[in-house]
Structure formats: C-alpha cells, structure tokens
Homo-oligomer: 206 residues x 2
C-alpha cells in the first residue's frame, strides 16, 4: 500500500485531468483531510454496457457505454450498434472506495461507518506488514445481465426499457447512500482530527 | 465470532440434518481438521430464481428455485409458475466460505490461498478484539438478472434458454475452483498441522 503523500500526488493528477467522478470529488477531499486515512481508487457508482469473453474475465472486458449517472434507452440502443463478439452484458456497479487506514483502530471505525451508511459489502481488503489496513467500502447494488452473444441480442425493446428502468433505480439506490457516507466521514473527522499536512497536497484548487 | 467448539457443534448438527451442500462436505472436514482455523457459514455455489421487493433487499427475498448444481430450462419454467409480486430475479452465486482464523498470520495464509485458488473477492470480513479474523473466500462468479415484475415476465423462451446456459457455465466456473481450493487447504494443513481435537468434534461419521 502506497503512503499518503504518494497517493495524494496521484489524486491531484486525477483531479487536474478530470478523471475523478464529479459527484464524489467533495467526499474524497473530505476523507483525505482526515488524519490517518487516505483514499486510493474509488468510483461513484456506474451503469453501462460491456462486452466480455466470459463473466468475471475483467481484463478482457470492453465498455460500450459507461456512465456515472442514469442512462436512457436511446443511449443503450446507440451503444449496442458497436457490439462485435463475446457476451454482451448490462451492468450496474455500486459506489466503491478504497480507504487506507494507518492502524487497526482507525480501520475498524472506517469499516463501521461504511456498514452504517448502508454499504453492506464493506470489508478489509488487505492487511499490510506495516500495520496499514485497506478498507473497501462497497455496496450490494450490483447487477450483471447477459443480453446476447457474438453481436446477437436476445432481448426486445420492451425488456431493455424495463432493464434500463430497474438499472437506473439500482444505481440511484447506491448513490443515495453517498450522502450518508459523507455525514459518517464528518463524524470520523471530529473523532480523528484534521490531517495537518492536508493543505500541502494542494487538492482544493481543482 | 464463535469459537471452534461451538462452531463444530453447529456443523455436526447441519451434517446430521443434511443441510450442508454435498459437494463441499469433504472440503469443510479438511478445513476444520487444520489447527487454528474453522468454518462458520458456507455455500458451494448456487443458481436459481428469486422474488424480491427490490435488488439487495436480502431479508425479504423468496427463492422459487435454488439448486447447487446445473439447472434445466424446464425447472425454471416450473418455478416461474409460482411468481406473485416483486422483482423476479435469475441468480447465480459463487461458492463462499467463512473461515475463522486464530491470528493474523493464519488469516493471511488463508487469504492468500483463497485468492490463489481463483476466488478474487476473498477478503477479511471482520477483525475481532480477541485477535481472531474472519476470512471470506468468495468469487466473482455472480449474476443477477431481472426477468420481470409483479408476476409478469418480460423475456421469452429463447432468452431464458440462453440465460440458463450462461448461468450454468458461470456456476460451474465457480465450482471448478473448489478443487484448487481443496489442494490449497491440503498445503495449508501441511504448514499449520492437525487440530489435535478434531476427532472430538465427531464429524466424520456423517
């Protein structure tokens, strides 16, 4: 696990290049302003269409549509013009945060607040020799729907409209928990205090 | 986290009542024969049809079909006769094992072997005050497909046949990793040694 200085350099670069999901910029700044914790990778929750050789084969997957907001039937239809080969999947993924904690005590507080904010797949992802612990805040708002294979769709317009509707609801159910998570991290900040070096990371201006 | 004596009483009762998935009985006996580790809940991977008020609302979900082996189109059709209300979901879930480890060193070995056997969602689920750690061995072989709502299906026979085929493949991809996991726990047993109390749990005869 990288240390905070290194992680904050990467976050700063990502903010400058606008690679951070808009709806969690404030939350990431809040988390990183707390003493003893910092974020690595994170996602505000997403929805879209993917082509993949098989389910779970992450590295070979190709997104045809990927948005961090609700999508429309027309956007799905447009993206499906680009299908080539492999399994065509409609996907929704919960918001996810990787939070590195300096020690066990802090990690257990972050885990507690993740669960309490409704992210029921929150877990300890890695325990390092240095005593640092990586907490993954993750939810159950995930769906993965095979729509067809090798360029051929096996569902009709009515079903896709239904699925877009269900998918958008699932996406928003995950995103609504972000507000609770923000309140939780405010409480954590009052428990753990400010990171005295936060201003040095120069994150605020982007 | 319960201690091993208590957990083994529960496992013994589950074995007697045949509530343990057949294809992992041997593996559970192997894991529990190792010094310093024991299992709590586990599942060998399953596939089926569920009705739920909304996605992720676990406690209110109702299974219409749930099998730990591949299923047929006819079984799905039969189960769909019992739909009533809520979202109708086709589900596949990876094998999952909850392994309580006596200390950090053991937990890290179990985590390593879980990942190495292909269970890529393996994580530390809980860290207790006693120093015990709950490792969750879990895979990425999960799908969750809305088929319709409030008794009304929005997919046709052709799609359901396709989905049963994809689902069975995903199920078996998860189950094939059980053999690698068994080999991994054999290695762990040679590292950590036998639990000298194993015969007292009286698990072998069922």
């Amino acid at each position: 696990m990288h240390d905070k200085v290194e992680a904050m350099k990467k976050l700063r670069a990502a903010l400058i290049e606008r690679r951070v999901d808009d709806d969690i910029v404030d939350l990431l700044l809040l988390i990183n302003s707390i003493k003893g914790v910092h974020t690595t990778s994170s996602c505000s929750g997403r929805i879209g269409i993917m082509e993949t050789p098989e389910i779970g084969a992450k590295p070979k997957a190709r997104w045809l549509l990927k948005e961090h907001r609700t999508i429309t039937y027309e956007e799905v239809l447009e993206s499906l013009k680009n299908v080539r080969e492999g399994l065509i999947l409609f996907k929704v993924q919960s918001p996810i945060f990787h939070v590195v904690c300096e020690n066990l005590k802090i990690a257990r507080r972050v885990h507690y607040y993740g669960m309490e904010s409704g992210f029921k797949y929150t877990n300890y992802r890695a325990l390092s020799d240095s005593g640092r612990i990586l907490v993954e805040i993750n939810g159950t708002e995930n769906i993965s729907v095979p729509l067809g294979i090798d360029g051929k769709l096996l569902v009709d317009e009515k079903y896709i409209r239904f699925l877009v509707d269900v998918g958008n609801q699932v996406l928003m159910r995950g995103k609504r928990k972000l507000e609770r998570l923000r309140e939780s991290f405010k409480r954590l900040k009052s428990e753990l205090g400010d990171d005295p070096n936060f201003s040095r990371y120069d994150l605020k201006s982007y």
